[in-house]
């Protein structure tokens, strides 16, 4: 089995599915000849031509708006937003049309499409090439939100997303686009949307994470093991619909919960998870639910390593919880 990285997994999933399903079109800025600024669509323009791999003018509302129209008319668009930070001009289209079309038309219309966007920090991108704004989308009914953390899941989840019947916001952790590699089978396989994965089993503390933060959480778990603390790590993989069973299972098992995300703490998705746990399983908790998150500030440049959740910050949370 070939070993590939996350961005190659995106590319492979798109290429294979485009061969199988001629309704798939890709549209976005620099996705054609250039192969995408992260090379996620490399070679697709050459293989599928300019009608299926469309280099668009610089307008995110144009990209998403027209993709919605194409979806309504039976195509299967997979638009790319170059950085999640540039999705805001399309926010109106996403919230107004994409998320609500099925509901507002009484189920007469629907528009299934997958919006792919690299997100997150760790590449020295400053305010506008680093943000993790998944919470905005999670807060909008009608959208599914998927965030893979490994090449295998990236391919399997992207295929599931393309075949889903609902709009999917598919966020790719660009910090680990190239650094995380693993064996991924060629050809067809899917990973289901809405299912978390136990990335590491443990009995003392549960860390709930997603995206690039999964790997920081795993590193912290390994460090904790050396101190005799047995940490379980749950990779959510899908935020909406959340795998609540998996969340509650790990909470009930360890009774100690840490949620890690790089998005700012206040109003972040961690708050939703914490609220659900307190509603459904508070009696199992031995101590407070701790969020290790980005600070409530815009994303900085020079000091980004101090802004991002880190192993020492997670270790501190583990130490604190182990006092309960």
């Amino acid at each position: 089995m070939p070993t590939i990285n996350l961005v190659q997994a995106v590319n492979q999933a798109l290429r294979e599915e485009m061969r199988r399903d001629e309704r798939i079109v890709i549209l976005g800025e620099d996705v054609g000849k250039d192969g995408g600024v992260f090379r996620a669509t490399e070679g697709l323009y050459e293989e599928f031509g300019e009608n299926r791999v469309i280099d668009t003018p610089l307008s995110e509302s144009g990209i998403i708006g027209t993709a919605i129209g194409m979806a309504i008319y039976g195509l299967n668009p997979v638009p790319e937003i170059q950085f999640l930070d540039f999705i805001y001009p399309a926010f109106d289209q996403i919230v107004t049309n994409l998320a609500k079309l099925r509901y507002r038309s009484g189920g007469q219309y629907s528009c299934h499409l997958v919006v792919r966007a690299p997100y997150g920090g760790g590449i020295k991108g400053g305010h506008y090439h680093s943000q993790s704004s998944e919470a905005y989308f999670c807060h909008t009914a009608g959208l599914k939100v998927v965030i893979p953390a490994t090449p295998y899941d990236t391919k399997g989840l992207l295929l599931s997303s393309i075949r889903d019947k609902d709009p999917v916001i598919f966020l790719e952790p660009k910090k680990i686009y190239r650094s995380v590699k693993e064996e991924v089978p060629e050809g067809e396989f899917t990973v289901p949307i809405g299912k978390a994965k136990l990335a590491r089993e443990g009995s003392d503390v549960s860390i709930i994470a997603y995206g690039a933060m999964l790997h920081v959480a795993l590193e912290a778990a390994e460090t904790a093991r050396k101190n005799g603390v047995d940490v379980e790590v749950l990779d959510l993989r899908t935020l909406i619909p959340l795998d609540i069973d998996a969340v509650l299972a790990t909470v009930k098992k360890t009774g100690r919960v840490i949620i890690v995300h790089e998005a700012p703490k206040t109003g972040g998705f961690g708050a939703e998870i914490a609220a659900l746990i307190s509603e459904k399983a508070i009696e199992y908790l031995k101590g407070p639910i701790i969020r290790v998150a980005g600070y409530d500030t815009p994303f900085p440049y020079t000091l980004e390593e101090f802004y991002m959740p880190s192993v020492p910050r997670i270790m501190k949370a583990i130490d604190k919880l182990m006092q309960y």
Partner: protein, 365 residues
């Protein structure tokens, strides 16, 4: 597809002599012409140096402007000190002609403790309040409605100031471009839009950005004048801008100036232009280098000698090298700078996060 050659009436430098008979007010004096040349050259030297520093890992990122110095310097030279500019990431020449210090530019690229942006912004995201040079955000064209708002406020206050707002060819596709142009037209805002049409928006050539034969014609739809100039002709750019700025100052509304120029370098230090454009196209535009054109004009007019030229270059290089040497000594910003300026005063959550962070940082430094 290649960027079409400029079709403009407003040639200045390619014809013999400096056309003094034009009805322009405020033609640059001899000293001013040399000043313009110096700033263009400094912009080029700064650009070359910054690209090299990025390659050497001394700065993290850079957006080069080589090839576009005439459009930037020529336009901003037409302003008064108290006018405002809304630049893009690429507008080093605008910053320099407006009087930004080399050290502040270098400090920003390094994101160190002297950086006016306090090391918070990615390099090339300038902002210098002292010279009315508005702060840059990456999302393309997001500054344009804001620039119009500043111009509307100037008008509201009955001042005779003007805003110069810069944007690229790609920006003309964005919704904010259209909102900005429409408001500018409706309210006759004292603003001049400088469109640096450098032929490319990363990998997309301007011919595929729009079906309009020109970008300047877009202004017509919003009820104001759009003109095209040779953006590699610094005096043509200056004259067109001076005229438009005067018009705006007189209360006669906005103008768009489309400067036909070319991005000779990569889009940014993360870009590889060989993937999408031909070497021939680049070579063709190199032959029309705006600095070479202006230099030969100055020499032909006996305004600049070879000795003076090399003396200027040497001076500028020294200035630049010493700015870099000094800024490389500066430490990175203090940790608390992450938490400052989010609000005018600090709410409890940020205070709490800072207190926690301080502890972690002290262990990790």
């Amino acid at each position: 597809m290649s960027q079409s050659r400029p079709q403009v009436k407003d040639k200045v430098l390619q014809v013999a002599g400096f056309q003094k008979e034009r009805e322009m007010k405020g033609e640059p004096s001899k000293e001013e012409l040399i000043h313009i040349y110096r700033v263009m050259l400094l912009t080029r030297l700064f650009d070359t140096k910054s690209l090299n520093m990025q390659r050497q890992g001394r700065i993290g990122f850079y957006v080069p402007c080589t090839g576009q110095e005439a459009s930037q310097v020529g336009s901003a030279f037409a302003l008064r000190r108290d006018d405002w500019t809304f630049p893009t990431y690429r507008d080093v020449g605008v910053a320099l002609i407006r009087g930004a210090s080399l050290r502040s530019l270098v400090a920003h690229l390094m994101g160190n403790s002297n950086d006016p942006m306090k090391g918070r912004q990615m390099p090339s995201h300038w902002g210098f309040r002292t010279i009315n040079f508005a702060s840059v955000a990456s999302p393309i064209a997001s500054h344009l409605p804001v620039a119009v708002g500043v111009a509307m406020a100037m008008k509201f206050k009955n001042e005779d100031k003007v805003v110069l707002a810069y944007h690229g060819d790609g920006a003309t596709s964005s919704g904010d471009f259209h909102s900005a142009y429409n408001f500018a037209g409706v309210y006759k805002a004292p603003i001049v839009f400088i469109c640096e049409n450098n032929g490319w928006a990363i990998s997309l050539p301007v011919q595929r950005q729009t079906a309009s034969p020109t970008l300047s014609q877009k202004a017509t739809a919003y009820g104001f004048e759009g003109v095209r100039v040779d953006g590699n002709d610094v005096l043509a750019v200056y004259r067109a801008t001076a005229k438009a700025v005067d018009k705006a100052r007189r209360g006669e509304g906005p103008t768009m100036i489309e400067c036909l120029t070319y991005r000779l370098g990569p889009h940014s230090t993360s870009d590889d232009p060989t993937r999408y454009r031909s070497r021939e196209e680049v070579e063709e535009w190199k032959r029309r280098d705006c600095i070479e054109i202006f230099r030969s004009f100055l020499k032909k007019e006996a305004l600049l000698s070879d000795e003076e030229d090399s003396r200027i270059r040497k001076e500028l290089e020294e200035e630049l090298n010493s700015a870099i040497a000094e800024e490389e000594q500066a430490p990175r910003p203090a940790i608390e700078s992450i938490f400052e300026d989010v609000y005018s005063s600090e709410p409890w959550n940020i205070r709490e996060q800072f207190e926690e962070a301080k502890e972690d940082f002290s262990k990790r430094m």
